[in-house]
């Protein structure tokens, strides 16, 4: 019974992990500029990676190696946003202007139309 529960928990965690990583991959390809990409690239992916690592920790059971998986999970959660922030800040410092509401109207359709074709 408990084995069964653990089995399905692992499957669900893996499925959601895969889903969020998929969203992050789609976001990285579709979104118009570096700042927008950083949202999915580093955060949606963090959740995807976190869920997959949680599945691994659950599968390893009560083992000394589980601690490794949990440590890895914590580590990914702390370092990913920091790295995303460093990248976004470096983009801001090198003068990359983000697309915002005002600029969006005339600039946004161009990069998104060919990408939409890709993802469908």
């Amino acid at each position: 019974m408990i084995e069964q529960l653990r089995f399905w928990a692992i499957i669900i965690l893996l499925a959601f992990g895969l889903f969020f990583t998929f969203v992050s991959a789609v976001g990285v390809i579709r979104l118009p500029d570096i700042y927008a990409r950083a949202h999915t690239a580093s955060q949606t992916d963090t959740l995807g990676a976190g869920l997959a690592l949680a599945a691994v920790a659950l599968a390893l059971g009560w083992d000394s190696m589980t601690i490794y998986a949990v440590l890895l999970l914590f580590f990914v959660f702390i370092t990913n946003p920091t790295a995303a922030h460093a990248i976004a800040r470096s983009a801001a410092e090198s003068g990359i202007v983000p697309l915002t509401d005002e600029t969006e109207v005339d600039v946004e359709p161009d990069p998104s139309t060919p990408d939409e074709g890709d993802s469908q």
Partner: protein
């Protein structure tokens, strides 16, 4: 029985993660800015860590997690170092 099935599921998931990583590779190649590439490579690194962890579970080789841990550390350092490097004045973080 379930243990074998579970191992297979882990390996299949790892394969799907590889496919997603290849999707991200498009951004690393296409750019257009250095930061875009850096971001893509950083995400690829995170995916590699997850793939290593999934393989550790799927192949019953727990020591893969050691490599995953070190890879995660290096990946973080790389992102910080290159974003610092791309800014002339320095001072990122």
């Amino acid at each position: 029985m379930t243990a074998d099935l579970l191992n297979d599921i882990f390996l299949v998931t790892a394969a799907l993660f590889v496919v997603l990583a290849i999707m991200m590779f498009y951004r690393a190649v296409a750019g257009p800015t250095t930061q875009d590439r850096l971001l893509a490579v950083n995400v690829l690194g995170t995916n590699t860590v997850v793939i290593l962890a999934l393989l550790a579970a799927g192949l019953d080789e727990p020591w893969f997690l050691d490599i995953a841990l070190i890879y995660a550390l290096l990946n973080f350092l790389m992102a910080i170092a290159i974003s610092k490097f791309t800014v002339e004045r320095g001072g990122v973080l």
